[in-house]
Amino acid sequence: MKGDFDVIVIGAGHAGLTAAICAAESGASVCVLEVSPKNVRGGNSKHTRNLRPMHESALHPLEGSYGFDEYMDDLLRVTDGETNQALATLTLEASANSVPWLKDHGVAFQPPLGGTLHLGRTNAFFLGGGKAVMNALFQCADKLNITVVYEALDIQLDVDNGVFRRVDYSHQGNTEHLTAASLVVAAGGFEANLEWLAEAWGDAALNFLVRGTPYNRGDILRQLLAADAVQIGDARQCHAVAIDGRAPQFDGGICSRIDCVPLGIVVNNQAERFYDEGEDFWPKRYAIWGRLVAAQPDQVAYSIIDSQSAGLFMPTVFPPVEAPSLRELAEKLGLPQESLSTTVDTFNHSIVEADFNHQILDGCHTQGLAIAKTHWARKLDKPPFRAYMLRPGITFTYLGVEVDANARVKFNDSTCTSNIFAAGEIMAGNVLGQGYLAGIGMTIGSVFGRIAGREAARHAR
């Protein structure tokens, strides 16, 4: 061994643990440094519910097939071509092994969750969700004698000419140093670092809610970039959705979602509509609403429905604000009353009556409005009226380090072969330059976690 360990992994999320397990299974001695305490471990991965594996034939619990071409088409469409074709090809192909690999490591799967049938062919759902996945992986790590250090604070990497030398960190008040032959960085993105986001988004970012862990602050990413690692993506690219404005600042996870947007109207705090609420099915549109709300004054908006929509959307975690009239609703929400009445009246008068059906792209639309609603447009006139406050909730960031097909981090002007490998969100931008495809985050972590672990172990030999 050329150091204290063969391989050091930074970040104990899904990508990091996958790398650690693969390295250990290749015979390496592995240490994982994780900043969070044990009782909140699991990073953003603990909030996930599925991944998206390529499968040419049925792959329990997935039925039918989701072949390479269809998958690649989907990826190219959502990213608008912002992807490294070679790495994307590699990712999709290797994703076929993700489900078997996870099953071998104690993860169970189940058919799609209630309300997500549209993902039944493409996305493999974890039984019990992401925390069940993480618990299973931590149990594997334990069996493989992988050292996991929680609360490894203030990690400082010593990187010279693209080569990792040693890591310093503080643990329980002491300063510790470790050396290893290779390093895997899997410390997630920087979505919890609102100040960093503000550099790209302006002060609007300070009003963002963070859907996942407060620990993904991008400190490791910053250090690598400072050590001249090649940057991929830019800080404005992120996955942000419109979520319930009352969600906690961090770790609100999946349950703060609001699915009733297409059923009613959405207004900003001037009580004015600002985008077509019925453009497409919600699962295809929710990811643009984060940005839309972020662009409104004070980064806030209100989704307003009437009693006709009750029960047509997934239940919400917080109860709606409810009032018998629009006036009273405006008062409760603190919106200008006149303005809200005008907006709703104008909207109601512009509706072209048709058969309403929220399960198809129906013919209900508006006519003559500056901002049309193209489907599911129904008069808002059946009290009680209900409203949910929306805020941008950031899921993850895309800016990262560039890697090659061996998950090796690329450095500008380096003359050495780097011993630093990256996996997960910290390098997801290589494959997903923009946009989003449900389940692709965990897929990238799974594929590059396995590659990084294997290659880091190989490098250590």
Partner: protein
């Protein structure tokens, strides 16, 4: 404006301050928006059929919960998250309160709330009653053989059939009031497949398999089949003993072949295997309870241990009887045995035993809902 909004959010973020049923509704509302645990057990699919969680619904869902712990171990909103979601703990408390709520007559709710004390008291009184009976009836009757030499068959039958009828009456009213809170129609209007599926869940204890078949998480993060195995040893042991008693009755009246029976007869076979299975099962369950993850554990006033204890000691004394035949200890152990049996009978009506009945009704209701969908 902010105040208004934070006020409405209070039910979601004010853990531990709420009364039981509000706390349950708060947690179910979070779960219903999350749904990650859908595959673990029957509770979550039943929850997804609903938007609001009133007392009846919560009683139903709580009795459907087998406290396997999976949804706690896998909850992204568990302590230290501010949502502080802990389904198994709150549902365990609801179940305890529901046993008392559906007790008949109402006054017997105290027996469930003070299960430990009630059990000790009834065991002592019942044993004393038999001891006194034996002592007062003077020298032991010589008409009977075996135990009947101590207490005559007729006396036993009189006492236990009286208590038996009482239990049936209590069951009728308790089951009825719980039944009415569920979506179930009358027993004859339930389609057969519903009975069949519920039966499979009961016989295999499906809901303790974690949804993946590897078992439950009562002891922590790692799934284990132990509790499922011990529970079924207890359940089948109990059923075997029940079969043994029924066969005994048939032998006695139908075949005019009164006890004691030989080792190789059917009543003895079922009695002994059932009894041994009960001993192991109960000891195992007791160990499981002791090692349960603290976070999902609740104080139940001896409710759980009282049933385990009664079953264990009934079985232990029952197995000891044939071995003591002809010795001076027979009379006292028989009285002790009958004391445990009588206390156990009372537990059937006003004790933890009722969990099995409400659980069966809840499973039936959940299968019925699934079929109707």
């Amino acid at each position: 404006m902010q105040d208004e909004l934070t006020q409405t959010s209070a039910p979601v973020t004010a853990p531990n301050l709420l009364p039981l049923y509000e706390e349950s509704a708060r947690i179910m509302t979070i779960c219903n928006a999350c749904r990650f645990c859908e595959g673990h057990c029957a509770v979550f699919p039943a929850m997804e059929q609903r938007l609001t969680f009133d007392r009846e619904t919560v009683d139903y869902l709580a009795n459907l919960c087998h406290q396997c712990g999976a949804c706690y171990q896998h909850c992204q909103y568990a302590d230290p998250h501010e949502f502080n979601v802990n389904v198994p703990r709150v549902f365990a408390e609801v179940r305890h309160s529901s046993y008392a709520h559906y007790a008949w007559p109402k006054g017997m709710a105290w027996a469930i709330r003070n299960a430990g004390r009630f059990t000790i008291l009834t065991t002592l009184l019942a044993t004393a009653f038999f001891l006194l009976g034996v002592t007062l009836s003077g020298d032991q009757s010589s008409e009977g053989v075996g135990f009947y030499a101590v207490i005559s068959h007729n006396t036993m039958v009189t006492i236990f059939s009286f208590v038996g009828w009482l239990i049936l009456l209590v069951w009728y009213f308790s089951i009825r009031s719980f039944w009415l809170t569920t979506a179930l129609p009358g027993i004859f209007n339930i389609p057969l497949p519903v009975y069949r599926r519920a039966m499979v869940s009961i016989l295999t204890l499906k809901n303790l398999d974690g949804g993946h078949g590897h078992g439950c998480y009562q002891q922590g993060e790692v799934a284990s089949q132990l509790r499922r195995v011990f529970h079924q040893m207890t359940m089948y042991g109990f059923l075997f003993c029940f079969v043994a008693t029924s066969l005994g009755t048939i032998y006695h009246y139908g075949l005019s072949a009164p006890a004691p029976y030989d080792w190789l007869t059917a009543p003895k076979f079922f009695g002994v295997t059932g009894g041994v299975s009960l001993l192991v099962g109960c000891a195992g369950l007791w160990w499981c309870r002791r090692s349960t993850e603290q976070a999902i554990e609740t104080e139940d006033g001896g409710l759980g241990n009282s049933l385990i204890g009664l079953l264990f000691f009934t079985s232990l004394t029952g197995l000891a009887l044939p071995l003591l035949k002809g010795t001076e200890y027979l009379a006292i152990i028989l009285c002790l045995h009958l004391g445990f049996v009588l206390a156990l009978f009372l537990n059937f009506a006003w004790g933890k035993f009722m969990h099995s009945i409400y659980r069966c009704v809840a499973l039936l209701a959940s299968e019925y809902e699934k079929l109707r969908q």
